[in-house]
Symmetry: C2
């Protein structure tokens, strides 16, 4: 007995027949984001290394590399596997790790791809060096420096020197530069304030680079930045490589901040949902809730009707598998005619929303043009 749910969509289907909830990509907007970002970053003579933690799909990573990316970033070692298997040759793990299982993954990955990883403790360096030596592989290592995020990364020049010295003790490790990422800067709504915060982060990174130079250590790679700041980071004179992830698909949180520069990524990510209950005035219920929408950045802000005209809606509550929608300004409006109508919901935060789905249903106009597996979904080790 093969008893599995039918596919929600096939290539060539009309959008109107796609099963809900489904995660959609608007290909026109997506392709513009890939193209425009690659051109913008290249114009500044800086490398683009998109962060795959946002989209988690090797189909997208291969397009990013095809569009000129130097490689990709992953946040976790296990996450890197599907990208390595799909043929991405250069992967930077933007994170520290501890533990035997992690060391096994790092050395296995390093035998297939050009792997770089982050460290912020001598103990991590020594464990990795011993594992790499045993496995007969060489791993590029980038100490992480704290440039304002107050999370991981060394906070002093002396601590950085200790890491660089420790790396030099292992023939299987190569000091490959620095990582400085300021996640808190990415979503600052005011464009000028965001620019200033990015500038301070770059100054901190620059000070670490100069401190190394003063000790005779050349730093040829400084990687960092995200979707909210890469337009500033590429012009900083410090970063040689930027790591935006969300730019390809975007989300409600990034859509809600100001964009006054040359960079204007468009939202290409939506959740398609159906009104499956409409029994009371002024309110309807759709079929996507907490299991299809991450709410850590708040409830979805933008809700539009997929095809039909309809009243303006506000998504006011997410239960596990239900979303409550209020008809804006019409608490007494009849709703029964809205049953079965379909809506497009813009998720508040793309990364954890994407991580809930197994595939993207990619459309152009009203047709499904591609299905891309989210092959790194759930790979958080």
């Amino acid at each position: 007995m093969t008893l599995t749910p039918p596919a929600p969509a096939l290539v060539g289907d009309r959008l109107a027949t796609v099963g809900t909830p489904s995660l959609l990509i608007d290909l026109d907007a997506f392709e513009a984001n890939l193209r425009d970002t690659a051109a913008f970053v290249a114009d500044h003579g800086v490398a683009l290394r998109p962060h795959a933690k946002a989209h988690k799909s090797s189909a997208i990573a291969l397009q990013q590399v095809e569009a000129g990316a130097a490689g990709i970033c992953c946040q976790k070692l296990s996450e890197a596997y599907p990208f390595a298997a799909a043929g991405v040759r250069d992967i930077h793990v933007t994170n520290e790790f501890v533990g035997e299982d992690k060391l096994l993954m790092a050395t296995e990955l390093a035998s297939y791809v050009q792997l770089s990883v982050c460290v912020d403790a001598v103990a991590q360096v020594n464990a990795l060096g011993q594992a790499a030596t045993s496995a007969g592989v060489t791993i590029d290592v980038l100490p992480e420096i704290d440039v304002g995020q107050n999370r991981c990364g060394v906070t002093s020049h002396d601590a950085l020197f200790e890491l660089v010295d420790a790396i030099a003790m292992h023939a299987s490790l190569r000091f490959a530069g620095l990582q400085g990422y300021h996640g808190g800067a990415q979503h600052i709504a005011d464009w000028v304030a965001r620019k200033e915060t990015a500038s301070r982060a770059a100054e901190r990174a620059g000070a670490f680079v100069r401190a190394l130079q003063a000790r005779g250590v050349r730093c040829t790679r400084v990687t960092g930045g995200g979707t909210g700041t890469f337009e500033f980071d590429v012009a900083s004179g410090v970063y040689t490589e930027v790591q935006p992830g969300s730019y390809a698909i975007m989300d409600g949180e990034y859509g809600g901040i100001a964009w006054h520069g040359a960079v204007r990524p468009r939202n290409s990510l939506f959740v398609l949902s159906t009104i499956m209950s409409a029994t009371r005035p002024g309110m309807v219920v759709c079929d996507v809730g907490l299991k299809g929408l991450a709410v850590d950045a708040g409830l979805p802000r933008a809700v539009t009707w997929a095809a039909s005209e309809g009243p303006p809606l506000a998504y006011i509550a997410a239960n596990d598998e239900h979303g409550k929608l209020q008809i804006i300004g019409s608490p007494d409006a009849g709703t029964s005619h809205l049953l079965g109508q379909r809506i497009l919901v813009t998720p508040g935060h793309c990364d954890p929303t994407v991580n809930l789905y197994d595939q993207y249903v990619c459309f152009r106009g009203d047709r499904v043009e591609a299905i891309w597996p989210i092959d790194a979904r759930g790979l958080s080790r």
Copy 2:
């Protein structure tokens, strides 16, 4: 080239070597919850139909049926497939649905299992009746009544009569009773207030039942209730069946409400995580964030050290793949000795947290005793 991440754990492993982050079940607590709840509900002469949306694992559902459950609940049609495939014979979908793909799933499922579903609109009834007739299957239908949740379900006796009359027009549909679920009652912290809210919900359900009786319609099944209220629902004289889901594993939100009755489910669900960065005083960073913990019910409240002794921790911020932990009361404490130590985190909300993982690592004492696939993960259609 087979390039996939290694398994995080194997049966027989010591807990100390399980890869992180991993979702754990403490089997002693889990088994006590299954046993005690089944006995308590049976003592009241009421049927137990556990909600599988909480655990999403056919391995658990089969144990619940073995322990005496009448069947299971699912929230979505696609979610029901792995349970049907695993041999669960009686599945109630506690939700309304609209659309051709949903009707196909309903009729397919009904050819394999005893299927019941909810409706709250005549249009749903007629679409389902036609689909069931075409497919040659019979489906049990339970109108949903609103008992205080203000979400789905009919709000008047007249609307219920219309549904019952519509069901009677289709030979392929069988009126099988009523569903009345008050999700908002489940997490009321005060035990007496929760009992009173559950009592009002049961009164409303009872009024619907009597209204049907007055029209000559017998209602032999009234299903509803959840983990927070089933201790009251079983004694209501109205509910013939209760639908708790979280009771088997529990979470921070349910652990934070008062339990003064005979029902005292124990927390059996944890996320195992590693401290992977510790570069500053008073704060460490662990390897589980938004992609391994749902935060819709708040950040994790309980954090304990897995093996070693260590200072008390508060989980203060969740990023995509990082959790920031503060050492309670010691902002200046040194932290480097905590790097690599492991913690147990109690998720705030079990359902959407479970939906992030592909398997449970089940332990007893310090050994992994079983690995249970979360085979309904992501099935939200």
